[in-house]
């Protein structure tokens, strides 16, 4: 196993608000790391920091061994990072095919290579092919999520960050999405999956990181003991005692 993305002591937030504090993270080739934590814990903010959308106030990010901390967001996709934001943020007024072609942009392909890359995406999701000329926003929620993920895959990423891909999808579709994520892992991608639902997340994960109040409070392989600890973080503690409890669970590293 080799680390594709390494975050070291990352703090980030918005303007005067530091949301994520001093988080370490290491994403390995061919593994799924899930990032858990209740909302407001800083999961999305961390992903935004990793992908360059938010600037880091401390720490560094290395992608394939290269320091990318100071790089602007638009250069990271070319270096192999793809971030699929939550809420199916695709280009709703563009057609399905146009969305996929935009996804090919970071890979710097020729026109012909773009066609074959798009064709490969259609092979993975035949339903998209039949709707290739429809406006992306007119498709169902699950199909939109497929577009979002395919779009990211078209850029030939090494790391894929997925922010709550199962949100708002029917349970059967969620199962499909999780299956797809496993496939991608098996193809060698390093996947960071942001989830709120402990269940889905722990089942699919090779490794689990839990954030609470912006700090990484757990970092371990999935296990029943882990579920215990996560539940503690989610509901078990009285307000105002985060720090103590966080240390209690410790960092098994």
């Amino acid at each position: 196993m080799s680390a594709v993305l390494v975050a070291d002591g990352v703090s980030t937030g918005y303007r005067d608000l530091t949301v994520v504090r001093d988080v370490d993270l290491s994403l390995q080739r061919g593994t799924i790391t899930t990032l858990l934590g209740r909302n407001g814990a800083g999961k999305t903010t961390l992903a935004r920091g990793l992908s360059g959308l938010n600037t880091l106030s401390t720490g560094s990010v290395a992608l394939l061994g290269e320091d990318v901390t100071k790089l602007p967001a638009h250069l990271l996709p070319k270096r192999g990072l793809a971030f699929v934001q939550e809420g199916k943020r695709i280009f709703r007024e563009l057609s399905v095919e146009e969305n996929l072609r935009i996804g090919c942009h970071p890979a710097g392909l020729t026109r012909r290579e773009v066609e074959s890359r798009v064709a490969a995406a259609y092979d993975r999701f035949p339903i998209l092919k039949s709707k290739r000329h429809h406006a992306a926003g007119s498709l169902s929620g699950g199909q939109q999520q497929m577009i979002g993920i395919s779009q990211a895959l078209c850029g030939d990423p090494k790391v894929l960050i997925l922010d709550e891909p199962s949100t708002g999808l029917a349970p059967s579709i969620v199962a499909q999405v999780l299956e797809l994520i496993r496939e991608l892992r098996d193809e060698g991608l390093a996947v960071l999956l942001i989830e709120q639902s402990v269940d889905a997340a722990v089942d699919v994960a090779d490794h689990v990181v839990v954030l609470d109040v912006g700090r990484s409070v757990l970092d371990a392989p999935p296990s029943d003991a882990l579920r215990h600890a996560i539940r503690d973080i989610y509901v078990g503690r009285p307000v105002g005692a985060t720090d103590g409890a966080g240390k209690e669970t410790g960092k098994p590293r």
């Binding site: 360059g52 967001a73 638009h74 280009f91 563009l94 146009e98 970071p106």
Partner: protein, 288 residues
């Protein structure tokens, strides 16, 4: 009657060219550049000077296009890029500011007098067409509007940069995450749209004339054309321009020259009330 129609179509083509330039600036940067008409007329004044030196027309047009394109790059750097982060209508003020600076430059370098831009002897003989008379320059302008319109549509629908531009104006952040270099797109977009303005400016001025006080007026008429046709629609920009030109020509010919702008204004107010998104415009999520 037909002569009036051709006159309207010709002046309408000028408005259409400006409206198209507005659309282009919005497509590449998300901001409407109020100064496009000023770039055109500045280029026309430059052409006036260069033609006076005896340079051939085509060379002059190319030089003007390059010079104006460079000016537009400067504009993008000072008036558009600093606004990127705070997503309000800041360009309303900054591009009006650029337009004002350009007006001052024109006054400084060419003074307040009207300058006639003459493209050549052949442009002065009227043609007869479908029972109306038309000047060759009118034909050139109509052709230019159609050509620029067609090229803009082709660019936006069929090229990679056009696709990325559209994506970028829909969701800036999502575009960044797909590796779209929005800054470069905006800068190059301004350069190209500036070059187009620089190229057509002397043609516009060959019909009207070139003077520092003209472009703000043209900018307003171009915007009215844009609203009539629907913000963001290139076909709408051309149709809106022609419609505006026709209304103006007919009001001038059959009512009184004094009404040539009053009638379009009333039409503009009516359209704003009845169809605020223009005849071909789509309803945007929020314009406020």
């Amino acid at each position: 009657m037909m002569t009036t129609v051709w006159a309207g179509v010709a002046i309408g083509s000028v408005y259409a060219l400006i409206a198209l330039s507005y659309n282009l600036s919005r497509a590449v940067s998300g901001a409407l550049n109020f100064a496009v008409a000023h770039l055109m007329i500045l280029s026309a004044l430059l052409a006036f000077t260069l033609l006076g030196l005896g340079l051939p027309v085509l060379v002059v047009l190319v030089v003007c296009a390059v010079a104006t394109g460079m000016l537009a790059i400067v504009e993008e750097r000072v008036a558009i890029r600093p606004l990127r982060k705070n997503d309000s209508h800041g360009e309303l003020v900054t591009t009006v500011g650029v337009a004002t600076v350009l007006t001052g430059l024109m006054l400084l370098l060419w003074g307040p007098d009207l300058r006639a831009v003459r493209l050549g002897a052949g442009f002065d003989d009227p043609l007869s067409f479908l029972g109306g008379r038309m000047l060759p320059i009118d034909v050139v302008l109509v052709g230019a509007a159609l050509l620029v319109g067609a090229l803009t549509v082709m660019w936006s629908k069929h090229t990679v940069s056009g696709l990325l531009s559209r994506a970028q104006t829909m969701d800036y952040e999502a575009a960044l995450l797909r590796g779209v270099n929005a800054r470069r797109l905006s800068l190059w977009g301004f350069a190209v749209s500036g070059a187009v303005c620089g190229f057509v400016g002397p043609l516009v001025a060959a019909k009207t004339f070139a003077v520092a006080s003209l472009p703000t007026f043209l900018a307003v008429m171009g915007f009215v054309a844009l609203i009539l046709g629907g913000l963001g629609s290139d076909l709408g920009a051309v149709l809106g321009g022609v419609l505006l030109g026709l209304v103006q020509a007919f009001a001038s010919r059959y009512l009184d020259p004094h009404y040539q702008y009053i009638v379009p204004f009333v039409l503009f107010l009516l359209v704003l009330m009845v169809r605020p998104h223009g005849v071909l415009g789509r309803r945007e999520t929020r314009l406020v």
